[in-house]
Symmetry: D2
Subunit: 458 residues, 4 copies
């Protein structure tokens, strides 16, 4: 590891070709060294979108890929701020470019603590990727920490404070995490590019022209209102069309049951998984260390699933096969208030057909997902988008945009019952006679992919 001084610039800017931003421009040695750490390289082996590539086959990109993009957008914003809004006196609410390096590092590293299939993994093993990110940055054992410490002894803590949202300068925090931050802007554009949908394609260039710092954080010129509005709509469309897609969620339900089954077996002192899941053991035992965590990636998990197909436990083997070979659970929508009794009836039917409902049915709400539609009323004033008018006063976005207003706090969740596809789409020949009546009864509760509370024939 080379030694360097704070803010040291590379003798020549280094670039990485990027399909979304053209080039990622690296000017500081510390950024290049962070990219070359093993903790950051690990992100190459973790998909950005988890199970979404089972629906949108193009979206196979990694968190490494995305992290570079977040860095790049942040860098471009810093350039704009430095040129157009440089501070000239303390407390003038403008940009102090001495914040650049800590901002760039936080942008680059903000996803460092993600594990494989984070959302599901965290639910089962009670981990928290944000805490892990902070651990990696502050632990004396990591390469990332060593690089950051080369800047100054307190620098790792500063970067961690940005992640933890305790950093004193709200501008820095909001660039990394707010309603329109570099993270969201990159993932909307990138996920759209890779999945091949057009919905995420808002006008980044225009937004970069109107974003600006002020005393309490980040705001936007009023003249950019329609560009912001367009961004909010893109975000909404990406959630509705891509992130909440029922097939991806059907794969996530399979994954969740699979990993829970493995954990249950392990806890029941069935030692079978010892040789085929050694990196997972500390998590089953709830005794994991940072080093254990950093060993995990998508490939490790799918390799274990690959082994589990041969395990004696039929549920584990079956679910492992469903995940590896892409057999998503099917789903139907329902309203929790009016259809709940029917849902329970359907789960009973599934059990009658021989499935353990604990592992073969699931109720899943899209709000379970990392959901961040624009809801200023629910989340406190911090998350509102403020526009700065010519006379320097602010106006909240939904006050001037009927579109944004229509999306504010009103979006309904999409609650679904998940179950094996063969229940409605037919079993192999020998089982048909056995379950024919149950299947028919099951189907009578469903119309237009929705549960109807009062089926025609009972």
């Amino acid at each position: 590891m080379e030694l360097f001084h704070e803010n040291e610039l590379l003798p020549k800017e280094k670039v990485f070709r990027d399909p979304v931003h053209g080039y990622i421009h690296v000017q500081h040695r510390v950024i290049l060294d962070l990219i070359n750490t093993k903790e950051f390289q690990r992100l190459r082996r973790i998909k950005q979108l988890g199970t979404s590539s089972f629906t949108f086959h193009g979206a196979e990109h990694s968190r490494f890929n995305h992290s570079l993009g977040v860095y790049e957008i942040t860098r471009r914003i810093c350039d704009k701020f430095e040129r157009n809004y440089p501070t000239t006196s303390p407390d003038d609410g403008l940009w102090d470019d001495r914040e650049r390096l800590v901002t760039l590092c936080a942008a680059l590293l903000h996803d460092l603590g993600h594990g494989p299939f984070s959302h599901t993994f965290e639910k089962i093993f009670n981990t928290d990727h944000e805490e892990v990110t902070i651990d990696i940055i502050t632990s004396p054992d990591t390469e990332v920490h060593a690089v950051l410490k080369g800047v100054s002894s307190d620098f790792p803590n500063q970067v961690a404070a940005v992640i933890a949202k305790t950093y004193p300068n709200p501008q820095v925090i909001q660039l990394i995490s707010s309603q329109i931050d570099a993270d969201r802007m990159d993932y909307l554009l990138r996920d759209a590019y890779y999945s091949g949908v057009t919905y995420g394609m808002f006008d980044l260039t225009r937004i970069l022209r109107v974003i600006r710092p002020y005393a309490n954080g980040i705001t936007f010129d009023f003249s950019g209102m329609h560009a912001i509005e367009d961004y909010i709509v893109s975000r909404y469309q990406m959630y509705m069309q891509v992130y909440f897609h029922p097939v991806s969620r059907g794969m996530e339900v399979v994954l969740y049951h699979l990993m829970r089954r493995a954990k249950d077996i392990y806890m029941d002192e069935k030692i079978e998984l010892k040789n085929t899941a050694s990196f997972l053991e500390p998590f089953f035992n709830q005794s994991w260390t940072l080093k254990d965590y950093l060993r995990l990636d998508d490939g490790v998990l799918t390799t274990y699933f690959n082994h589990w197909i041969d395990e004696a436990d039929p549920t584990l083997s079956d679910l492992a096969g469903r995940f590896l070979n892409r057999k998503p659970f099917k789903s139907v929508r329902f309203e929790r208030d009016t259809d709940w009794e029917t849902v329970q009836a359907l789960q009973s039917l599934i059990e009658e057909m021989g499935y353990n409902p604990d592992y073969y049915t699931s109720v899943n709400n899209s709000f379970d997902l990392p959901y961040d539609l624009y809801r200023p009323h629910q989340s406190g004033s911090r998350t509102q988008i403020e526009l700065m008018q010519k006379n320097q006063t602010f106006i909240e976005l939904s006050q001037v945009s009927p579109i944004v207003s229509s999306l504010t706090g009103k979006v309904k969740g999409d609650e679904r019952l998940f179950f094996p596809r063969e229940i409605t789409h037919g079993f192999s020949l020998e089982d048909v006679n056995l379950f024919e009546n149950l299947t028919k009864k099951f189907q009578s509760y469903i119309e237009n992919d929705e549960i109807i509370s009062r089926p025609t024939h009972k």
Copy 2:
């Protein structure tokens, strides 16, 4: 698995969003069922470009992704042929649309036998992805075979014959494998899209307008000459800029040495890797079956590498770390004829510095890679691109295109010596004194990233 009749169409066309082609359109049930087989789904876990994503971080797409694209281009060509060049009598050299299904299946499945990091894997374990593809198609144990057999008992053999290039109709073979086939057209466009370079962006729509069948295979209207020329240049540029990139090759050299070291250890001491490479054992033993082969994917190999970092063997551990954490070997160009003595001198220097040259240096020629620049003279008349003039006579492309002529049989290989980067870029502090003189001597042989046969100061 549903039963179906030959050529059975889905009640409603099914589409997959694709970032390169907009949509992949599936009309036959057999195509949908093939996509859903576990052998085809495995391709999701194998990167299309092996180590290239270490250089072009955007290029993380899988062979699954590419295979759908090859299918789609083939489908579009079949549509054009059926509409514009339908056969009306045997031997009229036009298109018989009864060939459509076998052509589509072969297009979809042509990469089925690829393993993880195929190029390197095949060199070490003496496997052949094309043979494996044929095995998967014809073996009675695979889901792919079962689906194909649903069409007719001989259908698997027909599809295999297209892959093996023994199928009677040369049009079908050349659509899948020739100088301008659906495979190459998709990968150039796709690899360009994902890597973010523009070089691969030839005009597919125009080529689809001028491609046509004739008695001996596939040809192109003379009016499309410049579009074909543009394709050839794109191909050349992609090889020069992306596929032969020295950094990707530097990672491939690390991978090669790593896997060879593992094999050598296994052969010598057997026991060591048992728990951490069980899926690889049959390959070390040269006793693998198709089932063994189909268990492998990128994640399995990187998981083993992950384990090997903890192995006692320092070379294995070191190389595993270099691969996982992206520490590519550096390289310098040389001319085999004039610089060979110097190369050997450099290898000796590397050995003096304590590296085993067997695992830490490598001579690598870009022609080792799956290389298919347009070289009609070397490859026989089959691989030439023929243009059909208005009077139905043919003219070979390089006769009318000075650009193509300039690329024909003249492109020189790029031979390089690979070695650990620290040899020229500095060791950690404690070693500096030790190797200072050797490093200086090493560097005196190199100028402008090339080996110079007579260094200025010896």
Copy 3:
């Protein structure tokens, strides 16, 4: 002119390269012959967006360009309808492909009657481009009529009936003119492409997948709801950002005053314009024929403006120079209800500065422009967008989309007062002393580009 039979196909499809759709595909001889008529070629000399290219310099495309695009989208929809929804019995509400030719011709010709700067021209000379379109199609003197008559003697009337919305089949009418018709879909995409904004980039491919015929016209599968929603938002954004842009409207106001001044002079028996506006004379005289109309194009008008710069009338000369040399009137927003008195005060100030307010001020509402937002409730059921659910029932779009609902009838017009830019931005040196006080007074009524009813200092 070649003779042909109804529906005669070209021996080989002819294509035109198109930047928006890739290629325009022409398969019928009658379409090719229509494109080659002089009436259709005239559309090359008329800009699609009138004065918008003064704001978005890229948007210089012609109505010829757009008309080909409308034809192409219609052709693609016909292909989809023919493949997926072919009629099998009368009144089944599906697509009768015998309607294809009349639909394609109407699509191609729908803008045929547009003159230069249509919106302004029509206001001054009381013309109507839709009536002229019908005239051109039905008049025995035009090449277009001759070509259409070649299909059948009644064919021109049929095409005209589609334009006039009296054609019996509502599917045909709605493909050319409805809330989501081929016309709007092309112009949104094309205007966005040429102007360089991204807002118009909705997902045409997806919409083409869900559009379908039914008994009363055109509808969309419910599964495409989000794609339709996205289209509505794109349309809204294009109006807000491009079509209603104040600078383009400021040029249109100059144009309107210029042409009105020319007409006023002519009517006052000032014969000066005889030699420099001969093609316009029949319009000044209100005695124009179709032949006169077809002589006009953008170049004719700007050539006359070019001559008028030398005319003795100072207002005519001045306004001609402002238009040719792009000196748009500036504008400020106001609320008609609350600010009207102030507006009149401002107009008086402008008159005090020596400007004839008749030619140098204007009040203009964006909804005076020939565009509309989606307002189902205002316009009767014909213009609603209906979605077809799985059970074949319909649901109106704004019922299921909060975004569309928010745009329905709630967006207000943008009313502005226009005046010469120098009034607020300064006169040349010699005039400064003269008007200094008036200018200051004028500016005191304006804050943040809006008229304030109670200025601070009077």
Copy 4:
């Protein structure tokens, strides 16, 4: 006109949306004022590609549009030079940013002197757009001159010197005019964008990364060799596919004959065109002034053509109709050396059919057009493309690129005989009997769109 000081920056950067470059960024007041002059605004009324939009209907963009693009590329290069290669001592061959303003002005204004359909106009009226550009810049009567003079009294001369290539700093000249200058880079990208072909899409971003100043002008890092190679191929493809397209040339031949006929008539009979071509009179008289020149634009000429359709002279009327209504002359290729006798025989046949060969046939070589391929050897060292190696030595591009070498001086011109389309494609019915034998004889000389010297049947 505002007064300003040299290099005065706008208080806030002004941008223009541009479909090719995203935004045009204007930072200097003088640039904004130049754009607002009437001489520069005139360029809005002159198409960039003359008759090419008759073939590629999308390519209707103006020279105004392109001129902004050339300015923007130049501005970006200046930014790169200022950041990466700032001069520190005289004669160090690096970039002196005091050259920025003169460079930007020359870039913006380089096409100012173009008239309507320049290529043809210049041949007939013996004008020279480069001389006119210099005139506009240096004439005390123009707004452009007044703006430039506001910078300093000598500034107009400096800008003119760049255009005239007499400016002392070769870097400035070569940025505006050399083998890879801002002019060519913009028009290739822009013409490709507007025409809808992909061939012009080289990698501008990469070229901007490797371009650099040196003592004798502009060079490129050797590492960018393949990007430069790609640019050369794009240029070649655009010439072959777009600029040299036979249909556009067929329209240009019609235009040439039309304007020559008008001139001939005027010289013979003076009076006829007086009322319908007043702006052209000074050119017929060879007595034009700069003011006369600046009155002309595409619309003026087409308006006159529109009038000429009614003129008594049948040739003038006929050719005017052919041009306005897009009836291009057809053409066949021939080799001047071997086919010349046959060409003359064909011209005689055309005369026999009643056409005046002076106005109805033409021999035209693509190299007569104002475009060039890369031919370093023919044009002297000034026009070579030099690459700078790591050791600061230069190597000429075609020495290291077989592709470029293949295009260097080896591509032949495309010589064609043009004639009215009806000669080979049939006359109206009544004439058929009259010319049947002549037409057959004519066609016997042609095969595959080429003249054959020894026709099969005479």
